[in-house]
Symmetry: C2
Subunit: 264 residues, 2 copies
Amino acid sequence: MTINTGFENGIVILGAGNVATHLSIASKQAGFPIKCVYSKTIKAAKELALKVDSQYTDDLRGIPLEADLYIIAVKDEIIELIVDDLKLDYGTVVHTAGSISIDIFKKKFQNYGVFYPLQTFSKSREISFENIPICIEANNELLENKLLSLASNLSKRVYKIDSEKRKSLHLAAVFACNFSNHMFSIAQEIIKHSGISFDLLKPLIKETAQKAIDQEPLNAQTGPAIRNDENVILKHLEMLKDSPDFKKIYRFVSDSIFNLKNIE
Amino acid sequence: MTINTGFENGIVILGAGNVATHLSIASKQAGFPIKCVYSKTIKAAKELALKVDSQYTDDLRGIPLEADLYIIAVKDEIIELIVDDLKLDYGTVVHTAGSISIDIFKKKFQNYGVFYPLQTFSKSREISFENIPICIEANNELLENKLLSLASNLSKRVYKIDSEKRKSLHLAAVFACNFSNHMFSIAQEIIKHSGISFDLLKPLIKETAQKAIDQEPLNAQTGPAIRNDENVILKHLEMLKDSPDFKKIYRFVSDSIFNLKNIE
């Protein structure tokens, strides 16, 4: 494996969770050596380090100082703590969070940016980086090119997106991923009580996503809410009377489906 | 094409919408002749009739009386009107609706049932029936076997589901399909205002559905709500302050994600 130019001194990964795991494995495979994995949990650091053939540590002061890139891939709320504690003489640092501005690095670093892969990751689930949109931001052109080089070696889909736009994208991703997934969870809860297997809903879930991808979700909408079929809607609300959360969601999402159709 | 035994006199399709179109094309292809298509709109009746090589009419009193099966595939709220107006001396009748009980036929017919394909259909979108779950119900065993024969010639996945269970399934399908699709629509609305292409969200939508299918949605959940990350949640609510529907949905779905995790 050839080592990519500009990354001869390797990458340090701060974090060993879902994003850190997939990003470092993909980087390693694309010829970007991982120098060290840091995690506050030594077991997690070691586990990932073994996969990417790197050093590991649970001490921020113990990370190598000469690496080419430091990627902070931890939960959003911990990024600031890492930034506060990270001591680097020089060195380039990025985070991978959709909702955090590039400015979090402003006071402390000279070269900094964001490297945001827009996907839902689970450690145990394999995923190819090739089609994952990677959103890049940097505080200078030299670094921007460096990040573009890394990103385009991992994925065919690389975008320059500033912090404001990335925040919108992250909010949209919460709806498109977390909230749609919760609709699947509620569906499963509803049929579980009738003893029906979740397998019956799988072809519908697959087609719903594919249809939204192929013809845009606004054009793909069907069902009682968009028809404003109050007869069915009221029957459904009655069926949900013992599940106040689901009932509220049913009412508000139905209203919103109807309202959005009439705004467009 | 061999004509399937018991269906030599053909099927009459009442309706020419999304379900009627896909169901009659698939039936025709599987060797079940379509005798006649009825729609209150003659243009729609003709259009479908041409596809399945059948007669067509916009007059309920004009449909053939000797067919083997009458399939009512119209909007839920119109089924009762069709049932009231349908004059058959004998003849077997089913509807295709998730939310309507089999009992709608009780007062008027001797042989009746339900033939519910659990999928989202659009006329213009091709779909293979092979993997679509078809839920069957009949008021007698002879008809049940007849419907099972039709269904199993169209799909590998045929289930006997009574009216009560089918209602749950239909409610679940509203969440799994219409409501998840609306989450995709909201995502699109949010990024549209930032000038970001919906293409960026497509790999996420595809993976979200596939993950829910492979590992069940409750286990697949990620994001700020399940982490109870109030910091991110409050920032997102602030971003949605000019979209009251989306803000309400954000708050209630986030609460429900967190609550469901803690019930399970």
